[in-house]
């Protein structure tokens, strides 16, 4: 991953280099490493660049609108800590984009080397508006209103507008002086470009460094205390405890996943429908290197993230509606890649998932298998038969129109696209794991 520094940015770049700010942060894993490389490396690709630097590549790029609450919160705290540390070295950050943070497992890392600039005396917090829109407001949406921010945030890629959050908040929430300042007052003082007359461009008053630091650390103290509203059980947060395959069946399922991971040793594993990450952990402990989990239940994701931090797993759980993944979007529909654009993964787990999509969301089985196999050339998929209590629950209030939902159809669809390496029954109700591999004798 290369980045160029153009002549206009050189002075700031060199200043930051000489400040000594970065080496300790890089060592601590807080800021991503960067090395200078000869300009000839990029040559034609970047005419006019004075300096070229190289960053290590990350195994997976994720976006703020996919992060669970705990991850967005961790990213916000990281950003503020980095900014405060920078100011202690006479360096400042020129923006506050949430896209400047990435995750390695459950640990956030600041990736934008070029955000760092020399601190200018009296400079206000330039990134404040952006910080509010991309970090604070989504967290407040969940913390104060109990609304998960993912869908809104994904739609409005640059964050939740302060004005709209303010409109959504009831009066009693605005009595907190922090909310009043950073949401209500902030919204009311904003003049749009269309309504502002030329003369009413606001004067920028200088802000002393101690006051700037106070603002940042005050924000940090606030965010540190934020928690999702209505914490406790969501629909699937207790699934792992409440559903009983039975101990020996569970062992079989775990052993199957472990054997798969041991044989394949995937560099990047995607676990679609990871729930609290129980089987993701099995895969990581058996040979998977980096694991990304996806689930649509925020309670389960919270527990998955806690598991990843607690057990120090290279596991990043992300929000996903499997029937409606975030598409490629941003400018020219390319800035922020959709799920497929960021794949394929080396291996896939799709456990206790297929019936939710095929029955719950009416996705044709054939198309579903197609999609899964495109996500990764090998993986473990669990088929849950109609007789299973969970499928019966999904059908309890609906007409059973799913004539071709059967193991035979599923297996045939899978065999048309791949080879079945192994299969095994893992529950009394007849749930069956299928280990597929596109590569076996099909090159």
């Amino acid at each position: 991953m290369f980045r160029t520094i153009m002549p206009g940015a050189r002075a700031d770049f060199e200043f930051v280099e000489s400040s000594g700010l970065l080496p300790p942060l890089v060592r601590a894993g807080t800021v991503i490493d960067s090395q200078r490389v000869p300009n000839s490396v990029l040559d034609d690709a970047a005419p006019g660049a004075t300096i070229v630097i190289e960053h290590p590549r990350l195994p997976f790029v994720s976006y703020p609108y996919e992060w669970p609450f705990a991850a967005l919160k961790a990213a916000a705290l990281l950003h503020l800590d980095v900014h405060l540390e920078a100011l202690a070295n006479d360096v400042s950050l020129s923006d506050a984009s949430a896209y400047n943070v990435q995750f390695q497992g459950s640990a956030p890392v600041f990736i934008d080397r070029l955000s760092f600039k020399r601190y200018r005396e009296g400079e206000i917090w330039i990134g404040h508006r952006q910080f509010c829109e991309q970090f604070l407001n989504p967290l407040l949406l969940t913390s104060l209103l109990g609304i998960p921010y993912h869908d809104w945030y994904r739609g409005r890629v640059e964050g939740i507008p302060t004005e709209h959050l303010n409109n959504a908040l009831p009066l009693r929430r605005k009595l907190s002086w922090r909310v009043f300042t950073h949401v209500t007052l902030h919204a009311k003082l904003t003049r749009g470009a269309a309504t502002a007359k030329h003369e009413s461009v606001p004067k920028v008053r200088p802000m002393s460094k101690p006051v700037l630091c106070q603002m940042l650390s005050g924000m940090r103290r606030w965010i540190e205390k934020l928690q999702p509203a209505h914490r406790g059980r969501t629909e699937w947060s207790d699934y792992a405890e409440n559903t009983s395959y039975g101990a020996s069946w569970e062992d079989r399922k775990r052993a199957f996943v472990a054997e798969f991971a041991r044989a394949v040793r995937p560099a990047v594993l995607w676990d679609i429908g990871c729930n609290t990450g129980e089987y993701t952990q099995v895969a990581l402990e058996s040979g998977a290197i980096h694991a990304i989990g996806f689930d649509g239940d925020t309670g389960a994701l919270q527990r998955a993230f806690e598991r990843a931090s607690r057990e120090r797993l290279d596991f990043l759980p992300l929000y996903l509606d499997a029937a409606n993944p975030a598409p490629s979007q941003g400018f020219a529909e390319r800035e922020r890649g959709g799920l497929m654009a960021r794949g394929p993964a080396d291996a896939l787990l799709a456990l206790a998932l297929v019936h939710h999509l095929a029955i719950g969301r009416n996705v044709p089985l054939e198309r579903l298998v197609d999609w899964l196999v495109q996500l990764a050339p090998r993986g473990v998929v669990e088929f849950v038969p109609k007789s299973d209590p969970m499928v019966q629950t999904l059908l309890r209030l609906r007409e059973d129109v799913f004539d071709d939902y059967s193991e035979a159809t599923f297996a045939a669809a899978l065999e048309r696209r791949s080879a079945i390496v192994r299969q095994e029954t893992v529950s009394a109700s007849g749930r069956r794991l299928y280990w597929y591999d596109v590569g076996h004798g099909q090159q």
Binding site: S94, I126, L185, H186, R205
Partner: protein, 85 residues
């Protein structure tokens, strides 16, 4: 000391010392005005603390306290930087 603080506050009131033009990002009009208010209030709080300390010292019959000694670093709105020093 008092004069310095007042001068700084007045200066801050009128001048555009640090233009955000050094940054590519639009800080947003609301944020600019809001931070202006914060800066003024923080400055007033510091001046207020200074006068309060002097007042307390006066009633105690002490010499005027040095502002730096009173502030615990980082916990309360810290002293404005004195440009004369």
């Amino acid at each position: 000391m008092v004069r310095t603080t007042l001068a700084w506050a007045l200066f801050a009131g009128g001048a555009t010392l640090a233009s955000p033009a050094h940054a590519y990002l639009d800080p947003g009009t609301g944020s600019i005005i809001l931070q202006g208010l914060i800066a003024v209030i923080a400055g007033a709080a510091v001046a207020g603390k200074l006068y309060w300390s002097r007042l307390v010292a006066f009633f105690r019959g002490e010499a005027s306290p040095d502002v730096a000694k009173d502030e615990a670093p980082g916990n309360v709105p810290p002293a404005e930087q004195d440009p004369e020093r």
